[in-house]
């Protein structure tokens, strides 16, 4: 979306232009304030004004010259860079298939960019070879250094490169950056660390990395969505991270919610018992996340049924919504009765969840929905049941027609 070259320089040019303009302008304002109540003489004022106008003109010329120059050269430079990068992609592909020797170090910027790009595109052993090339040429170490010190824009660029490079040796630095003072850096580093961790194949190293990242996530107070994303991106390493977060005491509730949602999203059935423990958590948001996770796992232990049934009567709408969706996991007859009752809930969203849950139960659920649409005592329950049935009709027709 944006050209990244030349923007920092433009900010400096603008700062210079404003300084050129502001100093004489400040002097003018000061002079004018001093004239309040005194005898006026326009002579010196005109001289100062001429100076201010001249400085403003100079500032304007500087900015316009930069913009015009930028317009003229940026597209040409970028096109040349893309061409050079493409040449390097071709060359690297020959290196990877052994038809050309590895080029001598040091590498130019476009050579490294081409290599980072290939790491994203290639799969399997070739991709691993690219990672080791990035390491052996010192590119990974250079990105690591840039990611941990300096100005925020440069650090973000380096972290982005590391997220693509996914070189295991950079994991420690990335995990450290998850606790950076800048929120934007924390978020970028967490994602890059998760992507890198996903490439660590040795189980012991993966466990260690996952544990370190889990601790960093707790300390980093990252938003729920980002922790969830980290779990998804960590792939095989998600389970040890979740394990660390669910079993540890004192984990912030936002992180806990994200871990529970991660369990559901990634279908980590191994944590079903742990999830059940949170169905009665004092924090309503955590309870809702546990209900969501249970619903997504599709498994409700007998010992947890009472917690779900209790949640159906919760004061908070959002708890009842998730409890209603999860109630489809109760024994079928109990589920149909419970969901039919929820069709008459005071919240439209709970009614909607009940209708959807009933429809998901197959023929018995659809039959019960039909009965509710015809004869439920609550008018709103009849309406929502009818709508849910109507929405299923195209899908059913399609299923029958093939």
């Amino acid at each position: 979306m944006w050209r990244r070259s030349g923007d920092v320089a433009f900010a400096l040019v603008f700062a210079l232009a404003i300084a050129i303009e502001a100093v004489p302008l400040g002097y003018l304002t000061w002079t004018l304030l001093g004239r309040i109540g005194s005898e006026r003489t326009d002579g010196p004022l005109v001289t100062i004004l001429v100076g201010v106008v001249a400085s403003a003109t100079l500032a304007l010329v500087i900015v316009m010259a930069y913009v015009l120059g930028y317009q003229l050269v940026s597209a040409r430079l970028e096109a040349a860079l893309v061409e050079r990068r493409q040449t390097w992609v071709t060359r690297w592909l020959r290196v990877l298939d052994g038809s050309e020797p590895e080029p001598p170090a040091p590498l130019r910027r476009e050579a490294i960019e081409a290599l980072v790009g290939l790491r994203e595109v290639l799969r399997g052993s070739q991709s691993d070879r690219v990672a080791s090339l990035l390491e052996s040429y010192g590119a990974a170490a250079a990105f690591k250094r840039a990611a941990t010190a300096g100005r925020v824009p440069a650090r973000l660029e380096a972290i982005e490169a590391l997220a693509s490079a996914r070189v295991p040796s950079t994991l420690t630095a990335l995990v450290r950056a998850v606790n950076d003072s800048q929120p934007v850096v924390r978020v970028a580093a967490a994602r890059a660390a998760a992507r890198t961790l996903a490439t660590v194949e040795e189980p012991g190293a993966r466990e260690l990395g996952a544990s370190a990242l889990a601790r960093a996530l707790q300390r980093g107070h990252l938003p729920v969505g980002i922790v969830e994303e980290v779990l998804v991106l960590a792939e095989m390493a998600a389970a040890p991270i979740v394990s660390d977060l669910l079993l540890r005491d004192g984990v912030p509730s936002a992180t806990l919610r994200a871990a529970l949602d991660g369990v559901g999203r990634l279908q980590l059935l191994v944590f079903a018992e742990e999830v059940a423990r949170f169905l009665t958590h004092p924090d309503a948001e955590v309870r809702a996340a546990a209900l969501r996770a249970t619903g997504r796992l599709g498994f409700l232990a007998e010992t947890s049924r009472s917690a779900v049934i209790a949640a159906l009567e919760a004061e908070e709408d959002f708890i009842r919504i998730h409890a209603t969706s999860t109630a489809r996991l109760l024994p079928r007859d109990q589920a149909l009765v419970t969901l039919s009752e929820r069709l008459g809930d005071r919240s439209w969203w709970v009614r909607r969840a009940a209708a959807d849950a009933m429809a998901s139960l197959g023929a018995p659920g659809l039959a019960e929905l039909g009965r509710a649409a015809r004869s439920h005592q609550d008018r709103f329950a009849r309406d929502i049941a009818e709508q849910a049935l109507r929405e299923r009709v195209p899908a059913l027709v399609q299923a029958v027609a093939g």
Partner: protein
């Protein structure tokens, strides 16, 4: 006579100090905005967006399109909305009692069929008639309702919305394919974010393919060209700067993304203003601050919305008149936030700025012209001094415009021809040689009409979004 001279001299000094402070503030916003663009451009990477599409980590979005007599642009704009790059979204078009062929065009273009539907009526609105669903795009819903104004149509669309994020958009706008993707990221990245505003750019003159602008060309009239500069200044410097300072008061009605629950909690859009976009943002600030809820309202330069800007002076004047009346109504409604420390930077910085420089600006400027003219006539002001002041004011305004043009040049999709860039340079100068003064006069008139024309929208003449 002596007293008149003193009064004139005093006012002159006041105007000059006023302009100096205003320009200083503009420079601060511009620098903050530029910084925000630099960081923002690196915040959401292509790798990140690809991950988002490949994995199941996103918040579904309901795009809300209020439409009133939009037969010329509705098919093109809705077409751009249904083709967005986003894993899960719905488009809800509400025809607000349109009397032209808006509904017919939608029915023909998207194969709409009537669908009885039940929904939660959490916001009161004028009665909604038939609700239709598209056979071509399952996520497209069109509702017809009695005319109640834009806010009322938006409230009806919110009632119909099913997803946690809502994106009110104008029906004469086109969204960039990744606009929702980029804006919705900010809700994932920060739990406190309740609303995100994006950049609005002028689509006039652009060549369209697949329902989206592919080649930017200068429009034919200087009125449109000057608005390109104006929009760049307002979004890349103004909004970005305010957002960076944590005091954003406006999210454009053309495109914004909100947490639906946050909007419902404060009661949806207020129907008594013609500046409903700004009013909602102000109310979100006010209510959340009162309830002690942490909240952030941010601008991101990345998500881009293309809109058709007025091509004739008459329509432009009516539009600016409406905007200014909306501003005055909203500031008056939320006057308790003014200089109220409980509202932080909104109360102590944004509100005073908007009152002093945006609401009262036209009055001060028009009286300034009158006073300077009077001072010239009675001989208490040196004509050289006056000319130099005017040149200085123009130069500073042009400088900020050129910076905004510079930011625009950093976009991958920019005005690529050198001649276009030179025309933009020219438009930045030309804006201060007539259009600015004309629009200041219009805002001055709007101030006088604020009470009398309350709620009056005014006729907007449009050519329509080009097909292709």
């Amino acid at each position: 006579m002596r007293a008149v001279e003193s009064a004139l001299a005093g006012y002159q000094v006041f105007v000059i100090v006023y302009l100096a402070v205003l320009n200083l503030l503009y420079a601060v916003f511009a620098y903050a905005g530029l910084r925000a663009v630099i960081v923002g451009s690196r915040q959401t990477s292509d790798v990140e967006l690809r991950d988002l599409l490949e994995h199941d980590v996103y918040k579904p979005v309901s795009i809300l399109v209020p439409a009133y007599n939009e037969e010329h642009s509705i098919v093109a704009s809705v077409g751009s909305f249904v083709r967005l790059q986003y894993p899960r979204f719905e488009v809800i078009v509400v025809s607000d009692g349109s009397t032209d062929r808006t509904m017919d065009r939608l029915i023909d273009a998207f194969a709409l069929v009537e669908e009885p539907r039940v929904w939660a009526r959490r916001l009161p609105t004028k009665p909604v008639g038939r609700v239709m669903r598209s056979l071509r795009y399952p996520g497209l819903v069109v509702a017809e309702k009695e005319n109640g104004g834009k806010s009322d149509a938006l409230n009806a669309a919110i009632n119909l919305a099913r997803y946690p994020l809502i994106a009110p958009v104008d029906s004469d706008s086109v969204l960039d394919a990744q606009a929702i993707l980029r804006a919705s990221r900010l809700f994932v990245k920060d739990d406190a974010v309740v609303a995100v505003g994006g950049t609005v750019r002028a689509l006039n003159g652009a060549e369209f393919r697949g329902g989206r602008p592919v080649d930017l060309r200068m429009p034919n009239t200087w009125v449109e060209r000057m608005q390109i500069v104006e929009y760049a200044r307002a979004f890349f410097l103004g909004r970005a700067g305010w957002s960076r300072l944590g005091a954003l008061l406006i999210i454009s009605g053309a495109f914004g993304l909100f947490r639906r629950e946050a909007v419902l909690t404060v009661g949806g859009f207020w129907t008594e203003t013609v500046g409903e976009d700004m009013e909602l943002v102000m109310r979100l600030h006010a209510e959340n601050a009162r309830a002690g809820r942490p909240h952030r309202i941010v601008f991101s330069p990345d998500p881009i919305c293309w809109t058709e800007v007025p091509a004739d002076v008459g329509t432009l004047r009516r539009q600016r008149n409406r905007w200014h009346r909306g501003l005055l109504t909203n500031l008056w409604r939320h006057r308790r936030m003014m200089l109220n420390p409980r509202h932080g930077r909104i109360g102590m910085l944004a509100m005073p700025y908007f009152v002093l420089f945006e609401a009262l600006g036209p009055l001060i400027e028009v009286f300034g012209f009158l006073m300077f003219t009077l001072a010239l006539v009675i001989g208490t002001l040196n004509p050289h001094t006056l000319w130099l002041f005017l040149i200085l004011a123009v130069l500073h305004g042009v400088l900020l415009s050129q910076v905004a043009i510079g930011v625009e040049a950093m976009l991958l999709q920019r005005y690529g021809r050198l001649t276009d860039r030179l025309i933009l340079f020219g438009a930045a100068f030309a804006e201060f040689l007539g259009l600015h003064q004309l629009l200041t006069m219009e805002r001055f008139l709007a101030t006088l009409q604020a009470g009398r024309k309350r709620g009056h929208w005014g006729e907007m003449r449009r050519a329509g979004i080009p097909s292709g």
